[in-house]
Symmetry: C2
Subunit: 406 residues, 2 copies
């Protein structure tokens, strides 16, 4: 249900809008802001003054003349505030500190000590957050909050990790509350694929479309959608389960109970099994999300990237399935951009990108009306952690419509 709006909201909205425009450019003048936002010069002037007072924006010299008075350029003060991003994956936990632009200032990655149970892990996380903030040299009062990305279904409202399939023993852990009381900072929580999507949009600026689908390759395959400029999560926060697009009817059995899901052909486990079988070996029974899995999968990807025949054949077969899934996706959603990211594509990203680009250019029904650009994530392997930090910035500074935005 949409909710009504008021004046305060209107002011905030326009302010966020202006900030967003400044963020998307290296530098921009007031007049250009007025043109791009549709606001009057006077209004922009007032809003910019507020932003300057708040320290979020800086004046940055003057542009070379275009005939009259030279414009005062404005640029984002990326050092005005920061956010902590935390990605808890079954194998590794990654922490980052990013500035307001979404650029990584400091990064730490360590093995996830899940076996010790949630209680002790949370204690360790609180210490890790304090440590990385200290190490980054960022003034503590400029840290806006902590974003947390975890795999699997969560309850973003209550801040619980509901039943992460890859974190045994973590049933309904009140992660948000614990971290908030432990660090004194506000915490936002979402699943890793959604976080990575928001991060891509935030850090990507103009290079990332207002409508895009992000495919996140982790232990499984998830994803997220940005539609009309804002994240779309779906009614139960489960939109973007691209890993369960059916690519082969009656195909491989999936842990979701269905058959032929994309994930059963592209997850690290599937790739590992395919690679082993192709060499006539018995598929190794590695535990889901273990360090050994990551290791083995990395070897296959590197081999494929190096051109080793068997590995390449396996990855190319996977890429073919991925292409079909993206075609279905663009037929349904008509997005102009598909971004591939997550640690699961490191090494093979370009192989995937080429295959998907080819499929998207030749198969969707509307291929004549729009080109679908296929890009690799600019946030790299740490997409989820950077995205988690971006969620904090996004909730604080993104222009939002009234009502419970999806």
């Amino acid at each position: 249900m949409l909710t009504g709006t008021n004046l305060l909201w209107l002011g905030d909205f326009n302010q966020s809008l202006v900030l967003n425009e400044i963020r998307s450019k290296e530098s921009i003048s007031r007049v250009e802001l007025a043109e791009r936002t549709g606001l009057t010069a006077q209004t922009v002037s007032n809003i910019v003054r507020r932003l300057l007072d708040a320290g979020l924006v800086l004046e940055a010299g003057r542009r070379s003349s275009r005939g009259g008075k030279r414009a005062t350029m404005l640029r984002l003060n990326a050092e005005s505030c920061y956010a902590v991003g935390l990605h808890i994956d079954p194998a590794r936990t990654t922490l980052v500190v990013t500035d307001l632009r979404g650029r990584v200032v400091t990064r730490v990655s360590r093995r996830t000590p899940a076996a010790r149970g949630p209680g002790r892990v949370i204690g360790a996380l609180v210490r890790a957050v304090h440590q990385i903030v200290e190490r980054s040299g960022v003034p503590a009062d400029r840290v806006l909050g902590i974003g947390v990305a975890t795999p699997g279904p969560i309850d973003p409202g209550g801040g619980l990790v509901v039943e992460p399939p890859n974190l045994p023993g973590w049933h309904s852990v009140p992660l948000r509350e614990s971290l908030e009381s432990g660090t004194g900072l506000p915490v936002v929580l979402d699943n890793d694929a959604t976080a990575a999507t928001i991060g891509e949009r935030w850090a990507g600026g103009e290079a990332r479309s207002a409508d895009m689908a992000f495919l996140y390759f982790g232990t499984g395959i998830g994803g997220g959608l940005v539609l009309g400029g804002r994240p779309y999560r779906g009614i139960s926060k489960n939109a973007g389960e691209f890993g369960h697009i059916t690519v082969v009817v009656g195909g491989r059995e999936c842990r979701c109970g269905n058959r032929g899901c994309l994930e059963t052909y592209l997850s690290p486990h599937a790739i590992i099994d395919d690679a082993a079988r192709r060499r006539g070996e018995e598929p190794p029974r590695l535990p889901r999300g273990s360090a050994a899995t990551v290791e083995y999968y990395g070897r296959v990807c590197r081999a494929a990237a190096a051109g080793e025949e068997d590995a390449l054949a396996v990855i190319e077969a996977a890429a073919d399935h991925l292409g079909h899934a993206v075609v279905t996706l663009t037929n349904i959603l008509d997005v102009p951009m598909v971004v591939l990211g997550g640690w699961g594509i490191s090494g093979i990203g370009d192989l995937y990108r080429r295959a998907v680009t080819e499929a998207a250019a030749t198969q969707p029904i509307a291929r004549a009306m729009r080109k679908t650009r296929v890009e690799l994530s600019i946030t790299g392997d740490d997409a989820a952690a950077v995205g988690a930090a971006s969620m904090v910035l996004h909730t604080t500074y993104a222009p939002r419509f009234g009502g419970p935005a999806g």
Copy 2:
């Protein structure tokens, strides 16, 4: 790019919001409106006064007491304005007049005289519009405009029918301009599937979710999306091409150039061919979108509905494919409601609905988190025509955000 907002817009927005709430209920009090919209009682009071003055809303008695002063109930004045809907299908042209609620006042259907070429058809359409308005008994000055739904890709901005695959000879016809100058009424134009979606949302009120997918069964299979309460058309207005979801990799060849599209198993043509083959007959080579096709297809559907074994088997096989497509759809979009509509499901709607309900309850990954409701269109066989009329009402009275809403 989002655009800035101003005060006039804010007022209009809140007014639309209130009108929308009134529309969605049979009757509602000012206090309830305040609760539901988040506006203050005073603001609601002011907005309601404007709506009463404009004649869009009526006071309708008082509610039985809840302890204090009895509330003055408000209800939509459905007779305050009307819209004309026009659906130009290859086989038939349907005209409707609907009231502000989206209810059909008058309806006319006739054979589409496409063979005579666009020029003469448009002249006939102008006359038909005048006729139906007169016949409906609606005061001419209360008709807000004309909505036109046509199959295939169009350019809603320029008002052209670009290259409708089923209307030979109609290349870039300036339909909007011609109709506007011929009738003196504003014209909005969109494809039939999108129109049907908007109509379903408008006429459905509370019974239709703010997030839903509408599958439109006509000559082909199209559809539309409502996400976050507003229609989502995609970047090139081609979202919702559900007919081209791949359901069988390497399957039947589709006119889109791809293989195994849903449409190749569920379109009237596909069903006709399947039914003929099953009876050992040669598939009849009927022209696409011809009256003979509609006739033959109707026979198969009626036979299936009557329980005739061969026809039933064909429809059940089709329903199975449909189920798979909807599972993919819900995995991607996490919508709580899927609506089936269009003349293509008349007779077999319940068969399809049962199959899809079953699939949606057992196969999507998030099936435990949300139930997907599967419903049949409330606008019936005339979904596209009613939807076309609703587009007029929607563009006039739906709350809209600033900027180019998708």
